[in-house]
Amino acid sequence: MFYPQAMTEVEMVVPAKDLLTITDALAGQGVFHQADGRYLGSKAEAGSWQETAMTYSTLERQILVAMQALGVVPDPPPQTEHASLIDIEMVRLLLNQIEEDVQTANEKLVGRKKRLEQLRSYLRQLEPIADLDLDIRALTKPEHIFSRLGVIPIANLERLQTSLARIPFVLLTLRQDTQKPVVWLAGAKQDADILDRAARSAYLDPLKIPPIHHGTPADVIASIHIAIERQQQRLVEQEAVISSLRELHAQQLQLLLWRVRVSRMLAGAISRFDKLRYTYLIVGWVPSDKLARFTQLIRKTSKETLIDTTPIKRETAKQDVPIALQGSGMLGAFQGLVTNYAQPRYEEIDPTLLMALTFPILFGAMFGDVGHGLVLALLGWLLASRKVQALHNLASLGSVISICGISATVFGFLYGSIFGNEHILPALWFNPMENIMQILIAAVGAGVVLLSLGLLLNMFNAWLARDWGRLVFDKNGLAGLVLYWSLLGLAVGLFTDMLTVPPVVLIIPTAIASLSVMLSEMLKHLIEGHRPLVEDGIGTYAIQAFFELFETLIGFLSNSLSYVRVGAFAVAHGGLSAVIFILAEMASPSRGIGYWTVLALGNLFIVGFEGLVVGIQTMRLEYYEFFCKFFTGGGKPYQPLTLHPSAKGPNEA
């Protein structure tokens, strides 16, 4: 719970004859995170499997194209633990047959649609001149003038006029359109070259009616109407052909798609195996709690396969161990907030549980209100339940919002606040608005506890990593902790009479810890045996050391004071609610409908706006004041091989 799942490194030497069955078993179990093992073996072998994977990839795309042409939507993959490489030639053969049917039918369909589109475009261009009593060829192929009837992108119209500024011309817009107006461009025959170049470069698309439609514009329009009716009828017939092809091939295409997709994935996995002379070397990781079942199944699949397992110790872990976080249910909801900051590393504490505990408490303390908290909890439940289609994208946040809402409700009881009214419920602790200093001091106190916890966790992580320099001398290590607490003690002694020891008892550790922080880099080098102890000269180092201490002191002060906002927001919540009540009274002193409307809207505003702001502030406190003390991150997510490529890995669940 406090660490990413324990991992075991697995190395398998697989006889070539069992390669496919083992690969199938690895993917079928869905627990094996593969590492690239190609450092000893034959590149040519890997290359040939890569080519196979690419061939499957091409076939997969071809299947998808055929499915798209038939309007078949891919189904989710079937739930099975076994699959094998499908024969490429067989897929090609089947696909060729289907493609032949589909392609011809689809080309006909597209052709008919285009033809219909074209006929409608003719109509659009001819309708403005329907009343003209002359042969259409007088406009499209005149003998004595230059004439061009057609459509032009509207953005090019003005530019066309500009480009013809040096010659006389007529440019009439016959039909307005937001995209492609119908225009007629005319000019003298001797300027035909210029006019033609201008029209062409302005993308004026000329009307070219097939000779079958002739006569006056009205005759041509009537003839085109008949052609449109005929084309529509053909289109319906062709759609029926496509529909029958869909009935015939849909199931086969779905099956082929899944088999080819899995084969592509398996071939890709094999290309990353290392080929020895007669065997393959497969390297990867398996979660330790699943290792027994995993090895049992592999041995059952191939008795000759050698399996060597090495449990990965936290303290000696290399950076490439994949990280499977253990959060599930409510804890899983907070996991997303942690990975949003960084993926934990294998050897460090997974802060998800800490996040799940501290986040709702900080949020509730800032937003303490029984009514608002319950509304948030309800909203969170609604999001998590996925009952509202439009809010599906926010479903993963639902549980977090719900828990924060419950925490806000608990703090609401402690503060005695319900929908901003602080006179109905008795405060079980105290009312922030009436005890401002008390809430601010309590908030800073909580901050001191969290910061100290952060420093202790960093020391623990350093101890695990056997990083003694960081453990003792780091500003977030023992030296930092001693410095922080000594300074706190001195501050308490300065401002209160609660300090029972003489100040010198605190001054000595303060001085020693300050010196440690200042010289931390040099001391770390000393412990690690790194030479030279000081790089870039002693002068530069002295300046750096001074600023290191200065930054640490400023950091401690600002980090601690940052938590004042917890109290400040608790007070602000009361203040904002009071404003809503004043506005409601102003809207309707007699407490009529206006009063209740303003109250309802005001409370909605508080839940929405203040809830969001408090959420962001809580996130900020977690990330920048707490996490940065001990959490480095940079781990690689665990992504096991699976036969269900669309299924999510444990980290994404």
Binding site: T58, R61, P153, K180, A198, Y203, D205
Partner: protein, 360 residues
């Protein structure tokens, strides 16, 4: 996607903090000097591992040596990631300007795919030419390429902003069997939309975006006009129709004058009096035009750097940062290619932009 709702101090506070932090990871003059002096490609790659590009260069699988093509691709991936990060931080109402700026890479990819279809190139050879847009693209590049024909490829773009433009220009492609009309139509539509987006901004944002987007648009418009006349020998009316009437410093009358055959050097000097040796540059257009473009890009880079001085809560900051990352990536491409070809430093130094600004 996390989008702050509006502009001003509250809207841009996060943007500014975020972009400032990213701005500090751009290559420093010291780093440029080291890269420039790298003895060979391997050392250059090792040096890049000590810069902000480290996470992109270090991901190469154990035992696999980085190739120049791969390194260039990875530097572009960093640029794409920078765009994504900036997108998430800008106020929602100004988001579309940056998206439109980003579309330039999508259009370049689209052109590369269309050229790939024309030349019958394989997917592998086209892949590394493409800008790594990842999932931030609606372009089914591979399907388009494997379709094997330009009209079929355009059909795949039905749900994208490019379909209308391309399907209209397709008739010219069919008649002329050249990609030129398709590419020009795409460019014109892109720059018009970008200019429109700038004009939709609030007055304050517009004041900061105009110098940057305007400089970009001016540079492209002017260079097009000159190239159409000098290289393609197009007629006056064609040059006018293939260029834009809008601009920041370049006016419509300048473009029309170039189209009508006026002295180009005189016009460029009138627009950019601060540029040196324009006459000499334009006497040899083959080498002079790239040099002129480089000078304009240097001005653009300076303009972008100036955006970081003074009042910081505006769209100019993310915009300037994104343009600078692009210029940085462009320079890195030059250095990577030069070092891998073992080209002597003096042969490629003049083609560097950020590197030359960093240590003139």
């Amino acid at each position: 996607m996390l989008l702050t709702p509006r502009g001003g101090i509250s809207g841009y506070a996060y943007t500014h903090a975020r972009v400032r932090a990213m701005y500090s990871t751009l290559l420093s003059p010291h780093q440029w000097a080291k890269l420039y002096d790298a003895a060979d490609f391997d050392i250059l790659t090792a040096m890049l591992k000590e810069t902000g590009y480290a996470p992109y260069i270090m991901v190469r699988a154990a035992g696999r040596k980085p190739t120049p093509r791969w390194v260039i691709y990875q530097t572009k991936r960093r640029m794409a990631d920078a765009y994504m990060t900036v997108f998430r931080s800008v106020p929602a109402r100004n988001y579309s300007l940056l998206v439109q700026l980003y579309r330039r890479f999508e259009i370049d990819n689209l052109k590369a795919v269309l050229r790939g279809i024309e030349t019958g190139a394989s997917w592998d050879s086209v892949l590394y030419v493409l800008f790594p847009l990842g999932e931030a693209t609606a372009l089914p590049a591979r399907t388009m390429l494997e379709g094997g024909s330009v009209p079929a490829a355009i059909e795949h773009l039905r749900r994208t902003p490019y379909y209308n433009t391309l399907s209209h220009a397709l008739r010219r492609y069919t008649a002329e069997q050249s990609l030129f009309p398709l590419e020009v139509a795409l460019d014109l539509s892109y720059w018009r939309t970008l200019w429109h987006e700038v004009n939709q901004l609030s007055r304050q944002d517009q004041a900061h975006a105009l110098p940057i987007v305007g400089a970009l648009l001016d540079m492209n418009n002017l260079m097009w006009a000159i190239r159409y006349r000098e290289y393609h020998h197009l007629s006056e009316e064609e040059i006018i129709n293939y260029t834009l009437p809008s601009g920041y410093r370049v006016r419509d009358e300048d473009i029309r004058a170039i189209a009508a055959g006026a002295d180009i050097a005189q016009i460029v000097t009138k627009i950019y009096p601060e540029l040196a040796n324009v006459d000499a540059l334009l006497r040899e257009p083959e080498s002079g035009l790239p040099a002129l473009e480089l000078q304009l890009q240097m001005q653009l880079a300076e303009q972008c750097r100036r955006a970081f001085i003074g009042y910081p809560f505006h769209i100019g900051i993310p915009l300037a940062y994104l343009v600078l990352t692009e210029l940085e990536s462009q320079d890195l491409t030059v250095i990577v290619e030069a070092k891998s070809a073992q080209m002597p430093a003096e042969r490629f130094r003049s083609q560097l932009l950020m590197g030359n600004i960093a240590h003139p």
